[in-house]
Symmetry: C2
Subunit: 335 residues, 2 copies
């Protein structure tokens, strides 16, 4: 690896001058700057990130905390899409991303310690158990932090509009004439809470009372559980005419249960998913679902974090990313 010293030797100047020329400082004459830059280019110079980070305390590295509970983190299309746009946005701004984990060397530590060790400039937290004290420790640290789909008091967050998403889905189903609807939701998290709120709002709006038995706790991204719960819903008459699922993936479990019961979708039972993954429009029938704008979520998170890093004064902002309704073909008209 060629270093500043090599270039300095080659050009007959000091390392200080080379550094300043390469970094565009003003107290270098245009002529020498040209000469130095040309030499650097020609010699294939590449700054040593470690040395620079050591000196400047800026690593141009952002940490990403994605914990795949039930190994559905990276394999989950929603999160991998968010991660990917996050990565692209970060890279365009000159930042690399590294995954945060719980060991440095081979010894276990905390997420925060790991971040301090690596000297990341900031952190994006998503898809984790936000009740984990170790996550809270990281979120409350004095590193710049942006969370996705969760808000810690006083910190930045990027949210998918879960209340609006669920509200829109319910309104859509009610508009199509459904009155006896059921909801299977995921584990109780802030995301689930928002969606439940949206569900209730839309129902109240339509002066619809939903009996307790029509709201079941399932699990995200777990089609087996939804298969089971759907069977349960179908077995106790009267059947609902419409079922909301935690996400598109788990809706597949529900569809299987419905078909095994000899019922048709949407003629006998209408269904709605959530997420709008590509697959949802390949089922037949195409699924009615709420498309979360994963590209905007990831890019916003990165952009906001970088703003936080580069303009330390920035007030912590909570940005909500709108989604959109995909009508699909899985909700029948009932009049």
């Amino acid at each position: 690896m060629v270093s500043l010293k090599d270039i300095a030797g080659h050009c007959g100047v000091s390392v200080a001058t080379v550094s300043k020329a390469l970094n565009g400082q003003s107290d270098i004459s245009a002529e020498t700057r040209e000469r130095i830059c040309a030499a650097a280019e020609e010699m294939g110079y590449m700054a040593n990130a470690a040395a620079r980070a050591l000196k400047t305390r800026r690593s141009y590295n952002i940490g990403v905390l994605f914990v795949d509970q039930r190994s559905s983190g990276l394999a989950h299309e929603y999160f991998s899409a968010v991660l990917d746009s996050l990565r692209v946005e970060a890279e365009q701004n000159g930042y690399d991303i590294t995954f945060i984990n719980r060991n440095v060397g081979k010894r276990p530590t905390s997420y925060l310690q790991h971040c301090l060790h690596r000297g990341v400039d900031g952190v994006v937290i998503a898809s984790v158990d936000f009740s984990d004290p170790m996550v809270a420790e990281l979120a409350q640290s004095n590193l710049p932090v942006v969370t996705i789909d969760h808000v810690f008091p006083g910190r930045c967050a990027v949210l998918s509009d879960n209340t609006e998403g669920m509200r829109s889905l319910v309104r859509y189903a009610l508009r199509r004439g459904h009155r006896d609807v059921a909801l299977i939701h995921g584990e109780l998290t802030s995301v689930t809470g928002k969606r439940l709120a949206g569900f209730r709002e839309a129902c109240e709006e339509a002066q619809l009372r939903i009996p307790a038995g029509r709201i079941l706790q399932g699990a995200y991204h777990d089609s087996d559980t939804c298969y089971r719960l759907t069977k349960q819903l179908l077995s106790a008459p009267p059947r609902p005419t419409c079922i909301f699922f935690p996400d598109d993936f788990s809706a597949i479990g529900g569809m299987n249960a419905i078909r095994e019961a000899g019922l048709r979708i949407p003629e006998d039972i209408s269904i709605l998913g959530y997420d709008g993954i590509r697959l949802s429009q390949m089922y037949s029938p195409k699924l009615a679902t709420w498309k979360q704008d994963t590209a905007a979520l990831g890019a916003s998170a990165a952009a906001e974090l970088i703003a936080l890093i580069e303009q330390p004064g920035t007030a912590p902002e909570i940005r909500t990313v709108p989604g959109s309704l995909i009508e699909g073909e899985s909700v029948d008209l009932r009049f």
Copy 2:
């Protein structure tokens, strides 16, 4: 951040002693070592990775090159699963992973330059256009490199057994009595080549001649293309009794085409996928497919790379990871 100097001050020894105590060097008395380690623990010491990397030229960071052509990289379940197990294995060995891209700062460079800049200890390359000269440059550099699903001469590689996978699938279909089979394959890569070879071998073995029109080039992970090609296959009688698809995901496109033509799976047309993603066993019918051992692929790649890094003498090894046949319910008996 507390540094070695702080600990040294606190314990009344030199930084050299602290460093050696913490790193388990032998020329430190047990008593002072205890004292220093205790102080380090209590003061919340965390080594500065940048300083260490600068001094030792080891970053404990491995670069991962995953390019998502057609944005199906991270969103592709196969690769995200491989990536995840790779990450876990690396982390367990004290390595972090960072994504390699083409810019340092905001200026574009090559993958190799980016690696040199970051000082990664080694690189895993997967899911890229292996004909890209910039990828070749990286692969032929003197960094430790492991590729997945592709072999560069003289370098380490971890391969999913594509020939065996396709051979097994074909044998399975032929065993069930199919004689007029069609294959839709992906873009021409070394992976596709292997699968084609497996396909041909199994056919020859059974003394089956496959007319040219029965082998079509489609695209990986692209259900639209497969939808179109399947329609084409179905429109020209005689129809094949069995179709092989590039992967499970694109098989969905094929299934839709088949069903739209009013045909049943598998009674009228049998189908086979490739990959064994979770979803494939949620379709109905469950898909006959070849399950690639993504967990082993990722873990092997990481393990092999780390071996290469830590024992520089290691001979470049090409490891093939076996997969397994999932029979599913999508291939009918034909006798």
